[in-house]
């Protein structure tokens, strides 16, 4: 069986130690504060980013990796492991051109390379969970086709819900997708946001007030995972205490096997803004 190597991008929010542990390559997107460019999760980390965001008078913007950025990573891997297979899983093509850049990079490589670029149709640890699951499957001896099948199946099984303090960031960055109808309301409406099968942001419900919104997410998750043991990842905009409270609330309501808390990367943070809280839940993995 041929060797398989794995690539993701910085928006998968996989912490450095896990990337190192599983030897996952990461291609960074970019954050621009005015003229200044940072490499997401490399030259700018979440903590620093959110502090900067709070005081900056210009709103940051972001850009996708160039095809060459991908090309360099793919070439490096093929130099290390000439006949390997690469599985490269990326941010939703409905939200970013990152996937497109990876596909272009592939077209610049020799024909016949075994490179599979997967549109996660998701963001943050919604990508990360697919990547980590893929690596684990590989370590358990699964072959390429089996791994791709597992990833596709898991994409169907995970649920992502998140809350933003204000929709302003999603709107200004043009990532609001199908939740656009909620903008402009004169009430303090908290849309329960999710990412749909097409990888686009959508609003599954709208409620009044943050507390109700959190309770609504719990209710929605209960409908999704009534009797199942689950794993979950709480993602946040560098607000660990809120994330812990949320995690505690969920632990009281679900049979939670495995919990991770992780900060949203600067690129994601640019588009959701401060005060964002999200949950990625999946049926318990069989590790």
């Amino acid at each position: 069986m041929s060797k398989i190597r794995f690539v993701t991008d910085s928006t998968s929010d996989i912490p450095l130690e896990i990337r190192e542990k599983y030897n996952i390559e990461m291609v960074p997107l970019k954050v621009h504060f005015g003229q200044k460019v940072f490499l997401d999760a490399i030259t700018i980390q979440s903590k620093e980013f959110y502090e900067k965001l709070a005081v900056s008078n210009v709103l940051p913007t972001t850009s996708q990796p160039s095809p060459v950025d991908f090309l360099n990573v793919y070439k490096k891997i093929y130099e290390e492991d000439p006949n390997c297979t690469i599985i490269s899983i990326h941010l939703s093509s409905a939200m970013s051109g990152t996937y497109q850049s990876a596909v272009l990079a592939k077209s610049l490589l020799d024909e016949g390379v075994d490179l599979h670029i997967v549109d996660a149709r998701s963001a943050s640890y919604g990508i990360g969970v697919l990547m980590v699951e893929a690596v684990k499957a590989y370590e358990n001896g699964k072959n390429k086709d089996e791994i791709l099948e597992i990833v596709a199946k898991l994409r169907e099984d995970i649920r992502i819900y998140f809350l933003v303090d204000t929709l302003e960031y999603l709107q200004k960055g043009g990532r609001i997708g199908k939740a656009a109808s909620v903008v402009g309301s004169l009430l303090n409406i908290k849309p329960i946001l999710s990412i749909d099968d097409e990888g686009e942001i959508t609003s599954v419900d709208k409620v009044r007030g943050k507390k109700k919104a959190i309770n609504r997410i719990v209710d929605v998750l209960k409908e999704d995972f009534s009797m199942t043991d689950v794993d979950m990842i709480i993602v946040h905009s560098n607000d660990i205490s809120n994330a812990k409270d949320f995690s505690q609330l969920l632990k009281e309501q679900f049979q939670v096997h495995n919990v991770k808390l992780t900060s949203l990367s600067p690129v994601i943070g640019t588009h959701v803004g401060p005060g964002t809280l999200g949950i990625i839940m999946r049926p318990r993995s069989n590790e």
Binding site: L187, I189, D205, K206
Partner: protein, 564 residues
Amino acid sequence: MSKVFINGTDFMNMVLSGANVLHSNVEKINSLNVFPVPDGDTGTNMNMTLTSGIEYIQSKSSDHIGEMAEAFSKGLLMGARGNSGVILSQLFRGFTKSVHELNEINAVQFAAALQQGVDTAYQAVVKPIEGTILTVAKESAKHALFVSHQTDHIIELLEEVINEAKKSLARTPDLLPVLKQAGVVDSGGQGLVFIYQGFIEALKGSFNVDSNVMHHTDYQKITINKPKPAQSNIATEDITHFYDMEFFIHLSKEVHFDESVLRKKLAEIGDSIVLIPDDDFVKVHVHSNSPGDVLNLTIQYGELTRLHIQNMRDQHREIVEETNSIQEDETFNEKDETSITSVEPKTFGMVTVSSGDGISDVFSSIGVDYVLFGGQTMNPSTEDLVKAVESIHAKYIFILPNNSNIILAAQQVKNLIEDKEVIVIPSKTIPQGLSAALALQDMNDVDENEHLMNQAIQDVQSGCVTIAVRDSQMNGISINEGDYIGIQENQIVTASNEIIETSKELLQLMITEENEMLTVFIGEGMAAQHTDILVQFVEESYPDIEIEVIEGGQPIYDYIFSVE
């Protein structure tokens, strides 16, 4: 004088006379109105409903009673307003079903038609309540059936009907405790008795039955009360604005059209204002003494077309012109329909009813397509609702009436709309309407949305604070005129002579540990410091609750509270 048959002309005279008697007693009926909501507008609603019926019947001239009844019934249905108005329209819908093929009817047929009216009305009302107009109609129709086998004379029959209706009316307080508490008879039932009295006056000839003269006098008296806010109701003798203007504004794309703003401005220079927005057009009807000012004001919104300006003192011409403008109105609608069908409809649309600019803006901001002006003081008619529904290009339209007196009128809309499915979510309060509107999700199917919206109504508590208009004793609470009363859902639960006191009491009754959110809608002209005191009180007493304060701008209610 004896009469054995009544034909189309007789019927028209009867309903004109009935409308006339009712019109003269509008205030009396309003003053009786305590059920289902003590809002004092039953008389106004019945009057407006009849006005619409009269308009339709006057566009016809026939001795065929079936044809005349059909026109009248159609008009009532279009103009139906408030519970009593809707029930009235159903009584005559049934009546019409019974006579529609007949040239003239005798006593037996008349009695049978009354009975069929009762049957139809009972079927149309979701939860018929005894001790209301329904009971009066039912008992008098039953008596009519009995008497019709003993006499051929319709006047005699009608006299019996009225006697029985009066007796039945007198019994309404025994059937409906709320009437007894207030020491009144049912207002809608009283309205029906007045209509029957008008019938008999017409047949006895004590009402002027020269149809031409009647066209003028009666028509003018009644149409003066065309749809407009009840507070601006004026009596016939007070008419000072005698130029009757009717035209369309073809709305300019560059100018933002706000119905309530135009309505306010027109009210400064005229009365009897009717605005019917319809996609690109607004139909305007107004009586004014300065037609030039009206035109200068409205031309700011776009091109004016089909202008009709009449001097109402010239009565003969008025009728001719009115008939013309009705015909033109119909062509206008046809044209309009063809112009919308070219674009794919969206899936869901919403229509709601609210008074208060702030609340209306909130509804618009959360995706409601059409906010009709109205509520407690002014119930929109079925026709207003139909217009609103027609103006929205969507497959399914949800109507949120936000008032128990508008629910029935909203339900009538279903029968009048063919190309869209109309679903009424029976919201009885503004908070219920808002919660229901928020529950609509575009990605859900229609049944799921209907379910969620109905659920949302259950999950919110509504309260309001208003001033008592008379002394009374309700649910063991003594209320003096001028007191601030706190109403939870539709029950008066507290009263005092101090607004803060009443508001605090009401909030304490409403808020429990499970609640997370309080929304305060501030009424028109409320002092800010009251609200500050209340917000501080809630923050201290219920630290876990989130509070949102909105300038609702609603009349009548100093505060509306939504607790969820």
